[in-house]
C-alpha cells in the first residue's frame, strides 16, 4: 500500500527540512519526501490531504515511561500505556525496568515485547536493570538483556548506589554502546523527604529533598563516565545545579546526555500549596523545584544543553494517591499531556521553534537510545507524529486512555495538540477534534506492521 501525505508543513531537522513537503509511504517505510509529489505515486484512495496548519514530524519517542507490566497491572499495562502513548502523539516509548518482577532478565524483556506486539500500537523499547533485582549489588545480565531487546539499562526509581557499581556498569555497557540511564539521587541526602527542600516545604512542614541530592550523584556519574568512556544519560533532571554539572561534562567531551520532564519546566513547588494544598498529584520524584530550577530547565531547553524531553509517565491508582501527602507514591502520568504542554509552554511562548521541539522529542531520543526513527528520510520507518499546533486543548483526565488519572494538569486549557499518530505506516491514532483530518484509525484487523 502506497499512501501520500499531501500538504502540511514537514519538520525533519535531521534531514534539514522545514517547509511544505509531501511524504510518500510505502508499506511500513518512508519512500520519498519532496515538494509537490504527484498523486499518481499513491495507490488508489491512498492520497491523504493534510489540512493547512498541521505539522508532519518524525515520530515522537518518549524515552522515560513506566508501563507497570508485569506486576502492577492495576496502574497500567503495556496495552493501556501504549494506547495512551499513541493518543499523546508518541510512536515509541522506552519502558523502565522497575516492574514486579524487575526487568533484569530476558524473560521479562520478552514478555514486555510480546505484550507490545499484541497491542500493536506504539513501539516499545524495554530498558533493563543495571543490577540484579535493582538491588545495587551485582550487575544484571546486560548482554542477555540487550540480545533480548533492551536498548539501555537503568535502576530507575533507585540510584545506582555505589560509585563502584556505577563505574562497572558504565564500563560494561560501553562494550555495547548502550547508555546507562541514571536516576540521580543521593539517598542519604534525600532521607524521607517528599518535597523540594526550600521555603515552600518549610512553610508546608514537608520534609525536604535538596536539589543537591540530585546534582551530587550526577556529578559523580559524569566523572565516572569521563573516566570509563561509558555513555551516561541523566534522567528527569530537575535542579539547576545538575544542569550545570551536565554542561561542564559536555564541555569536557564527556559522553553525557540529559532529559527534562514537562512538569519540571512547567510547574514549581508553589503548586504544592495552591490551588489544592497538599495535592498528591504534585508529588513526584525528583520533586517540583523552585523558580530558579524551573527557569534553568527552560534555559537549557532553549540553549541546547538539554537533549530530550521525556515524560517520566508514572501511573498510580487513585487509591494510592488518595492519602496523606507524605504517604502517597511519587509520580504523575505524562503521555497524554506532554505535547500540549510542550507546544504551549515552549513553542507558543517563543522559547523554541518547532524544529528544536522535534530534536528534543524525536531526533535525540532516537540518537541516545540507538533506535530507528528520528527522521522521515527515504528508507526510515514510517513512524510519524502529526501535530495540530493551534488546536485548543482542555486536559480532561476522564478521557485519558491511561489506566491511571494522576495528573496535576486536569482542566488546563492549552494551545496545541496531536492530530494523528502513524506507526509503521499504520494510523494508530486520529484526533476527531481536528477539523478536516482525512485519516481514519486502522482497525485491529488491519495488517500488522512488519
Amino acid at each position: 500500500m502506497k499512501r501520500l501525505l499531501k500538504g502540511g508543513r514537514l519538520v525533519d531537522p535531521a534531514a534539514g527540512i522545514d517547509g511544505d513537503f509531501d511524504v510518500l509511504i510505502d508499506g511500513d517505510r518512508i519512500a520519498r519526501v519532496d515538494r509537490d509529489l504527484p498523486a499518481t505515486l499513491a495507490d488508489d484512495g491512498g492520497v491523504v490531504s493534510i489540512p493547512r496548519g498541521l505539522v508532519v514530524c518524525p515520530g515522537f519517542i518518549d524515552m522515560h515511561v513506566h508501563l507497570r507490566e508485569p506486576g502492577q497491572e492495576h496502574k497500567e499495562t503495556v496495552a493501556t500505556g501504549t494506547s495512551a502513548a499513541v493518543a499523546g502523539g508518541f510512536t515509541a516509548v522506552a519502558c523502565m525496568p522497575n516492574t514486579s518482577p524487575v526487568n533484569d532478565n530476558a524473560g521479562v524483556t520478552e514478555l514486555i515485547l510480546r505484550k507490545a506486539a499484541e497491542a500493536a500500537l506504539a513501539r516499545v523499547y524495554p530498558i533493563g536493570a543495571v543490577s540484579r533485582g535493582q538491588q545495587g549489588e551485582q550487575l544484571a545480565d546486560i548482554a542477555e538483556l540487550r540480545a533480548a531487546g533492551c536498548v539501555a539499562v537503568t535502576d530507575d526509581g533507585h540510584p545506582v548506589a555505589t560509585a563502584l557499581l556505577a563505574r562497572r556498569a558504565l564500563e560494561y555497557t560501553s562494550m555495547f554502546d548502550m547508555p546507562m540511564i541514571e536516576h540521580c539521587e543521593d539517598l542519604s541526602l534525600k532521607g524521607d523527604g517528599c518535597a523540594h527542600e526550600g521555603p515552600r516545604a518549610a512553610e508546608l512542614g514537608l520534609r525536604g529533598i535538596p536539589g543537591t541530592a540530585e546534582s551530587i550523584m550526577a556529578a559523580r556519574d559524569i566523572l565516572l563516565a569521563e573516566m570509563t568512556g561509558g555513555r551516561l544519560h541523566v534522567a528527569h533532571m530537575s535542579a539547576w545545579t545538575t544542569l550545570e554539572a551536565v554542561r561542564q561534562g559536555k564541555q569536557r567531551g564527556v559522553k553525557v546526555t540529559c532529559e527534562v520532564a514537562p512538569h519540571h519546566f512547567t510547574l514549581t513547588d508553589d503548586w504544592l500549596a495552591s490551588p489544592v494544598p497538599y495535592d498528591t498529584n504534585t508529588k513526584m520524584n525528583p520533586p517540583l523545584r523552585e523558580a530558579r530550577d524551573r527557569d534553568a530547565m527552560l534555559a537549557g531547553i532553549a540553549d541546547g544543553s538539554v537533549d530530550a524531553i521525556a515524560t517520566d509517565h508514572a501511573p498510580h491508582h487513585y487509591d494510592e494517591k488518595h492519602v496523606e501527602f507524605d504517604r502517597a507514591p511519587f509520580g504523575i502520568v505524562g503521555l497524554e499531556t506532554a505535547i500540549p504542554l510542550t507546544l504551549d509552554r515552549l513553542v507558543h511562548s517563543g522559547l523554541i521553534r518547532l524544529p528544536r521541539l522535534v530534536e528534543l522529542m524525536s531526533v535525540n531520543p532516537a540518537r541516545i537510545l540507538h533506535v530507528p526513527g528520528g527522521t522521515l528520510a527515504a528508507g526510515a520507518p514510517a513512524d510519524i507524529t502529526i501535530l495540530a499546533p493551534d488546536l485548543a486543548v482542555t486536559i480532561d483526565r476522564a478521557r485519558f486512555r491511561s489506566r491511571s488519572k494522576n495528573t496535576p494538569f486536569h482542566g488546563w486549557s492549552l494551545r496545541g495538540g496531536v492530530a494523528a499518530t502513524i506507526v509503521g505506516g499504520r494510523v494508530v491514532f486520529a484526533n476527531r477534534e481536528v477539523p478536516a483530518l482525512a485519516l481514519e484509525e486502522a482497525t485491529s484487523s488491519s495488517p500488522a506492521r512488519a
Binding site: E197, G198, P199, R200, A201, A202, E203, L204, G205, L206, R207, G208, P210, V276, P277, Y278, D319, H322, V323, E324, F325, D326, R327
Partner: protein, 323 residues
Amino acid sequence: MDAVQTPKQPLTALRRKDLLSIADLSAEEILLILDTAEAMKEVGQRAIKKVPTLRGRTVVNLFFEPSTRTRTSFEIAEKRLSADTLNVAIGTSSVVKGETLVDTAMNIEAMAPSMIVLRHSSSGACHLLSRICRAGIINAGDGMHEHPTQALLDAYTIRERKGRVSGLKVAIFGDLLHSRVLRSNLLLLTKLGAEVWVCGPATLIPPGLDRLGVHVTTSVDDAVRDADVVMMLRIQLERMEGGFFPSLREYFTTFGMTEARVSRAKPDVIIMHPGPMNRGVEIASEVADGPFSVILDQVANGVAVRMAVLYLLAGGVDHEATA
C-alpha cells in the same frame, strides 16, 4: 480625607468551616478568637463551669498521635460548651486493621458529627479531611506543618501578660525544622506585628526561613537580648539520634535556656514552653519553674482559646448549613 467610608461591620463569627492553619486566618479573625477567649475564660472561673452553647452537637477528637495536653484541653473545652464528645485514639481504631485515613474519616463523617478535631503525623492531613468531610475540621497538630490552637493560646497568654503583641520582641528557641508550633507561631506573631527572632542549631533551621519575615540566628545571645518573650520549643531525643546535634549535653550548654541567658532579656520577660518539657535539655528547671515562667498559664488558657475556636466555628457550621 473627603471619601465617605462605609463603617466596617465588626467580625462576629469565623465564616469558615475549618481551622486548618494560622496561614488562612486574617489578623482580624485572630483578634476575634482572642477576644472571645476572654469571655470563655470567665466561664472557667465560675463554680459551675458549663454553658449550653454546643448542646446537641457532636465533636469527635480523632488523634493519630499520642497527646495528653492537647487532647485533654480540647475535651474539657468541648464539655464546658456542653458538646457531646468522644475520643478516637489510634490504638482502638480501625487504623490498626489497615484502614486508610480517608475511610476512617468518611465512616465518622457518616455518623454526622459537627466537628472533628484531628491530630495526625502527616502534614496536610487536615486539608485532606476538609476536602471530603462536611464536618468542620480543627487542626490539633498535623505533622511538621501547623498547630494553630497552640499559637492562639500562646498569643492569648502574651497579650494577657503584656497587653499587646504588636511591637514586642519574641525570641523562639529550639528545633525550627520539625516544629509545627514554630510555624503557627511565626505566622501568628508576624500577623499581629511582633518582632520575631528564631534561634537554633544550623542543622535544625530549614532553608528559606529567613524569607518568612523573621530574624534567624544561631546566636542565643543575639536572640535573647532585650526580648519581651522567650519561647522554648521541645527538643526531641530522636533528633540527636538523627545526627542533628552531637549530644543532649552539648545542646544544653550551647542552646539551653539558663538563668544567665534569661538575664539578658528585658527585666519583665516571660518564659513560655508548649510542653512537654525536657528539663536540662532545652530549658533549665530554674527557668521553667522561675518567676518569669508562664508555662502553666499557657495550659490554663488553652481551654479558653479552644472553647472560643469551637464556639466561633460552630457559628460557621450554622452559617454553612443555612446558606
